[in-house]
């Protein structure tokens, strides 16, 4: 029997792996991708049963187009973090001294948009250049490589980094990073689909999601 196929926005992949282990690794597979890419695939008939989007709009769009069985439900709320690998994280006001900052492309990822809005609010005088990755994962890679000194990533990505290097951004300076999921329409609904859907919103899952660096709804 084919396992349940869960398309997952790349930023949630590490946490999704944990959930999968909990749910039963043999019963489901994860299909990571950028949210936009996954949307394109799903709307062209990709055989995914569940979609964990990185935002609200994409999930809603699928629902509006009749591609989803259920209305979108929030499964996680992301937190944005400033990360300066190898150095103590600076005060936000000190950011003005950075010539370049890394973020996910605001056009492609809500975390990018959030980073943009935070900087505009906290350091309106900043005149530097944005280095944009296609996703928070790519932003993370740019920072890991050491080529860029500081940037905004998902908190979930830097949980294991030394605490001093990371500074969590106040949720007030950006729109909430609401990540929503939908159950997708399939010719024949997967027997495990509903079970996973229930599991995703179960307390156990919420606990894991919270442990993964998200605010569970």
């Amino acid at each position: 029997e084919t396992p349940l196929r869960v398309a997952v926005a790349a930023n949630f992949l590490p946490t999704a792996e944990v959930l999968r282990a909990e749910f039963g690794a043999e019963r489901m597979t994860l299909h990571p991708g950028a949210t936009g890419q996954l949307y394109a695939q799903i709307s062209q008939g990709a055989p995914f049963d569940v979609f964990l989007s990185a935002d609200q709009t994409t999930a809603q769009r699928l629902y509006d187009e009749g591609k989803a069985l259920t209305a979108p439900q929030t499964y996680a709320i992301g937190r944005l973090a400033l990360w300066t690998p190898g150095q103590p994280a600076p005060e936000f006001s000190q950011l003005a001294g950075f010539a370049r900052l890394v973020m996910a492309d605001p056009k492609l990822a809500p975390y990018g948009a959030a980073a943009l809005s935070c900087v505009q609010r906290l350091v309106p005088t900043w005149q530097g250049q944005w280095l944009k990755g296609t996703s928070v994962a790519q932003a993370h890679q740019m920072l890991i490589s050491g080529a860029a000194p500081a940037g905004f990533v998902a908190w979930s990505q830097v949980l294991t980094a030394p605490e001093a290097e990371v500074r969590l951004l106040p949720e007030t300076c950006h729109a909430p990073l609401i990540q929503q999921a939908v159950l997708l329409k399939r010719p024949a609904p997967h027997p495990a689909a509903q079970a996973f859907w229930d599991f995703l919103f179960s307390p156990t899952a919420r606990q894991q999601i919270a442990a993964g660096g998200y605010a569970a709804p």
Partner: protein, 219 residues
């Protein structure tokens, strides 16, 4: 040393690369031969069309291919099975995307091939197939090696198209490059480095063997 999933991806990748390369050579050779026969506007156009997919970013190409292969797309309308998110779809996409790497060097080589060798071989009772095996292939071997190496290596590393068309279904469409992407996205850099090392090591050996075997055709 590798995770079983990665082994599966590796096997799938080799399958894809090998199959694509074989198909590319089978398809590209007659096409290149035809292209080499003349200089007409039609041929230049075909040659251009062959190279054209190359100028699109792989994910974008993948997107258009997806539109083409989708249940509502023209290929299905033509009666083909739905190829998106299947291994066959990957093969089709890889072939299309790597076609210029095969057609381009082969066309150049076929054009440079002196037609007299063939005609001489015909007078010496060689049939078409023997002409190919005994004259054309040996005399244009460097171009075939170029074509095979570029096609194989490019299929190994290609990722955007494959991810878009394939959707990373383990055992079906999750090839090594996609697995590598997955490791990187899930911040599992250790596994990513490991996989990259295996990929590089294997390719190093395969390419080295190909190049060592590429003895100069004495002219």
């Amino acid at each position: 040393m590798l995770h079983p999933d990665d082994w599966q991806a590796l096997a799938l990748t080799l399958q894809l690369a090998a199959l694509s390369t074989v198909l590319l050579l089978l398809l590209g050779t007659p096409l290149a031969w035809w292209l080499a026969q003349g200089q007409g506007r039609g041929r230049a156009l075909i040659q251009t069309l062959v190279a054209l997919p190359l100028v699109l970013p792989p994910t974008v190409l993948g997107f258009y291919l997806l539109l083409l292969m989708a249940p509502s797309g023209p290929l299905v309308a033509l009666g083909l099975p739905m190829l998106a998110f299947s291994f066959s779809g990957l093969v089709l996409a890889s072939v299309l995307y790597s076609l210029p790497f095969v057609v381009q060097p082969l066309t150049a080589a076929f054009r440079a091939l002196d037609r007299d060798w063939l005609e001489l071989a015909y007078t010496l009772r060689a049939n078409r197939w023997q002409c190919w095996r005994e004259i054309i292939l040996p005399l244009t071997r460097p171009a075939f090696i170029t074509a095979a190496v570029l096609a194989f290596a490019h299929t190994l590393g290609e990722f955007g198209v494959v991810l878009m068309i394939g959707g990373s279904i383990p055992g079906e469409t999750e090839v090594l490059s996609v697995a590598l992407f997955r490791h990187v996205e899930s911040l599992d850099y250790a596994r990513a480095h490991q996989l990259a090392a295996v990929l590089l090591g294997m390719s190093l050996i395969a390419l080295f063997i190909a190049y060592r075997g590429d003895r100069r055709v004495a002219l």
